[in-house]
Amino acid sequence: MKVHVNGESADIKSGSTVAGLLDHLRIGRDRVAVEVGLEIVPKAKYDSHTLSDGDKIEIVHFVGGG
């Protein structure tokens, strides 16, 4: 199925979870925040939150700033 991650489209297996997506993208789960369709997914739910076709996902982290 197709999802949109940080503005880019990505093909992932149907039934993938947030945890699965992060593993697929080689992103550690500790220091990021994930939003699916404008709703934050808490870290405790990464393993249980299943993604759907067409989901808009944002994965953010901290960068240098003032």
């Binding site: 080689r26 925040a33 944002e58 982290h61």
Partner: protein, 260 residues
């Protein structure tokens, strides 16, 4: 009072350093780490941005920051609406597991001055959601009072536009804020060199926040040290109580015993 006993207290948390620094614009992570270390800062600002998913080999900021040593203050830089700022703060809390946020809601790209209406709207929501809100704001006591009344943990009026290095252009407005606001007042933005930081502290500000003045200096490490010393010196000078300004001279040596 020695600088050791004179701590900055924000939302019940004590800090030894009154200098807060940003983590942006450094030539390298190594330079940033060294500047942070030399500055003695305990609170450092960070921005919230998308992870680069196409290039996973890029280093991550937090790989270089000792989270036992620093309190992260995520900002909402680049947000022009209350909704965007609130969304960014929620993401920051999830990523960093801390309630501290530097709330900025900007009015326009040229001045980066705050949009007071949106700022107040965002502050109200964030305080209700349990955030410790440190708002970057105008040098306007009315806005500062409203932010304090909403429950912000500090107010952070600008001394001059962000990144301008113009110094503290508004000492009287800052003093009026200091005399009327009971939460810490931290000058955020405008500092260009060490004397600017000292001036902010001598006015009685509780702290100073800066990024470009250090990161953009020709030698950021040396400037970080200069800023550390200026903030300490300015605070000591404020606590010591300066002499009144007089128009005419007042000799330091006695008249008595002068050679005839």
């Amino acid at each position: 009072m020695s600088s050791q006993q004179d701590r900055l207290v924000i939302a019940g948390r004590e800090f030894n350093s009154r200098l807060m620094v940003g983590t942006g614009k450094y030539a390298s992570f190594q330079q940033m780490v060294q500047a942070l270390e030399v500055s003695g800062a305990e609170i450092i600002t960070v921005a919230v941005r998308r992870v680069n998913i196409s290039d996973r080999n890029k280093e991550s900021l937090l790989d270089h920051i000792d989270l036992k040593k620093y309190t992260l203050l995520p900002n909402t830089a680049g947000c022009y609406t209350a909704d965007d700022a609130v969304r960014t703060c929620r993401l920051a809390r999830e990523a960093g597991l801390s309630d501290f946020v530097k709330l900025e809601v900007l009015g326009d790209e040229k001045t980066l001055f705050p949009d007071n209406e949106e700022l107040l709207k965002a502050a109200r929501i964030l305080v209700a959601e349990g955030f410790t809100v440190l708002p970057y704001c105008s040098d306007d006591v009315t806005v500062c009072r409203k932010l304090e009344d909403l429950g912000c943990a500090a107010v952070m009026p600008l001394g001059a536009p962000i990144g301008s290095g113009l110094g503290i252009r508004n000492p009287y407005n800052i003093r009026i804020i200091l005399e009327n606001i009971n939460v810490p007042v931290i000058v955020d933005a405008g500092v260009g060199c060490a004397s600017d930081a000292a001036i902010a502290m001598e006015l009685g500000c509780h702290g100073v926040l800066m990024n470009t003045a250090i990161a953009g200096a020709q030698d950021p490490i040396a400037m970080a040290e200069a800023m550390k010393l200026a903030v300490i010196a300015g605070r000591l000078s404020y606590n010591a109580g300066r002499i009144p300004r007089k128009l005419y001279a007042n000799a330091s040596s006695p008249i008595e015993g002068l050679l005839a």
